[in-house]
Amino acid sequence: MTSDEARQLIRSVLHQVAPEADIDDVGEGETLQEALDLDSIDFLNFVVGLHEETGLEIPEHDYPQLSSVEGCVAYLTSAR
């Protein structure tokens, strides 16, 4: 997966989880939970969304790596 593909995927999953949030305004390095006001259920739904799109299992101890768009891109592009 290229960085651009990953970025597109992340934004599309975020949009499903938080349809009312303005995802384009979120900076690459910003903490998603703060920037988008995600609670733990939203965040879980986000991880489930990434899992469903990529097939990655994403163990819970990897969650901190998914805290920003930047982090998610790095995680998804380096996986497999």
Partner: protein
């Protein structure tokens, strides 16, 4: 024949807009079927029917805004009916009037008094447009007519009765309308306002000038005829008939007002007492981490699931926390339906119920919670979820606060709050260590319980959370 009425989807709701009908006359419906979509200030809600039968007639058009209690449809019941209202939440015991009945105690009487006609008082806010049209057509004066519908609302039946009593000619017309052949009624669309309206010449002239549809007006002249004043008033829409504000900002403002009104009522009427305790969550967090290692991502649990389950089980042992206080009488609820406070990113908060919370396994609860939060965000909830929470839980910990002292959501009698999970120095088994802790708070109604029982309740939550594997 039963009336399907606009349900109260929370104590702060006064009116709703029928945005979509999912059934048509002649359709068979089962208890629990979603038959309409209603919009309120807060969200879009799928409204379930609490009676099995056949839809006879739809009385409100899509897009029409009507007050709580207004009749939306007539239903031919399959089973004999006991009560005049069909909107009781399914799982609350029959003794408990639905939250529907207590939107505004000044104006609406509770469901238990529904069968007694209320004294003749003006009740413009609890009239369906269809009833108004009928009254207008039959020349019945609505102001002096006692209503037998929910909350003393004047029903179609009341108007017909009144017309029969007073006017032979009206009786003939009503019966002609009512006794249409069955086959024809099954295909009948919602009644169209094609009838002629009694109106004054001045009103007609004014209506033509202003482009007002006379047939849509409620006349206040003699025998319900439309007079000039009615036409003038129609230009400035009455508050209850306004369409839901389309602009997001207006909707937010409406939601803020609705929350404000309800919370003001809570603070005015409920003698709150507040308790707080710190609970050691180390065992619960360790159990959760371990459980999630073995689970695929789609089946993982979050801490709120444990908190909700523990609260629900504790409620079963301290029933004074669970139910509704209506007109000074506490109606405990046998079932536990925890309302989960979900804050909306666009502003505002809603607290729809997870039904039978204490009976769900953690996995079922997780599924229910994910589904509920997802739907609260996208704005599609079900009527039963909105109308029957028996106690509310709010979890503001993720925003970083240590404790939340909540305002009780009337007519409920308790609210449990959980704050942020923090590491704290903690004496345990004679040793000082660092433990993960959460502050649990209780806001409860002093008219129903006192601090001693409240303390027992929080202690029970604590005890249950120490053995997460048993939840």
């Amino acid at each position: 024949m039963g009336d399907f009425t606009m349900p109260s989807l929370g104590a702060d709701m006064e009116a709703g807009t029928v945005s979509q009908w999912l059934v048509k006359p002649g359709d068979e419906v089962q208890r629990g079927d979603v038959i309409a979509v209603v919009e309120t200030e807060k969200s879009t809600i799928e409204v379930e029917i609490f009676e099995s039968g056949t839809i006879d007639e739809l009385l409100v058009h899509e897009g029409e805004r009507v007050p709580v209690g207004a009749v939306l449809a007539h239903v031919i019941s399959r089973a004999p009916r006991a009560v005049a209202t069909t909107t009781s939440p399914s799982s609350v015991t029959n003794a408990v009037p639905p939250a529907a009945a207590i939107t505004d105690t000044d104006r609406v009487t509770v469901a238990t008094t529904v069968t007694t006609p209320t004294p003749a008082t003006p009740h413009p806010a609890v009239l369906s447009p269809v009833v108004r049209h009928l009254a207008e057509r039959l020349g019945v004066d609505l102001v002096t007519l006692p209503g037998s519908g929910p909350g003393g609302a004047v029903t179609r039946h009341d108007v017909e009765q009144a017309a029969r009593r007073t006017d032979d000619e009206a009786r003939v017309r009503t019966r002609a309308a009512e006794r249409k052949p069955k086959s024809k009624r099954k295909v009948a669309a919602p009644p169209q306002p094609v009838h002629r309206v009694a109106s004054s010449p001045l009103a007609r002239r004014r209506a033509a000038e202003l482009g007002v549809d006379l047939s849509a007006l409620r006349g206040t002249g003699p025998h319900g005829s439309v007079i000039e004043r009615d036409v003038q008033r129609a230009r400035a829409p009455a508050p209850v008939e306004q369409a839901i504000p389309a602009e997001a900002e207006d909707r937010q403002a409406a939601m803020r007002r609705a929350i404000g009104a309800l919370m003001a009522r809570s603070k005015r009427e409920i003698p709150h007492y507040y308790l707080s305790t710190t609970i050691d969550l180390t065992a619960a967090m360790a159990w959760l981490t371990q459980a999630n290692v073995e689970r695929p991502v789609t089946a993982r649990l979050v801490l709120p699931v444990l908190l909700l389950k523990a609260t629900a089980c504790a409620v079963e042992r301290v029933p004074e926390m669970n139910g509704f206080l209506i007109d000074g009488t506490f109606h405990p609820s046998e079932a536990v339906h925890i309302g989960v406070a979900v804050s909306l990113r666009t502003g505002g908060v809603i607290a729809p119920a997870i039904h039978n919370t204490a009976r769900l396994s953690l996995d079922e609860m997780m599924t229910a919670l994910r589904d509920l939060v997802g739907r609260a965000r996208t704005g599609i909830l079900r009527s039963s979820e909105m109308s029957d929470p028996t106690i509310t839980v709010t979890n503001l910990g993720e925003l970083g606060v240590e404790a939340v002292f909540g305002v009780i959501y009337p007519p409920q009698v308790a609210l449990v709050g959980f704050g942020r999970v923090t590491e704290q120095p903690w004496a345990h088994d004679g040793m000082l260590g660092v433990r993960q802790c959460v502050t649990a708070t209780l806001s409860a109604d002093h008219r129903v319980s006192d601090g001693h029982r409240g303390a027992r309740f929080l202690a029970e939550i604590d005890r249950l959370l120490q053995e997460p594997e048993k939840l």
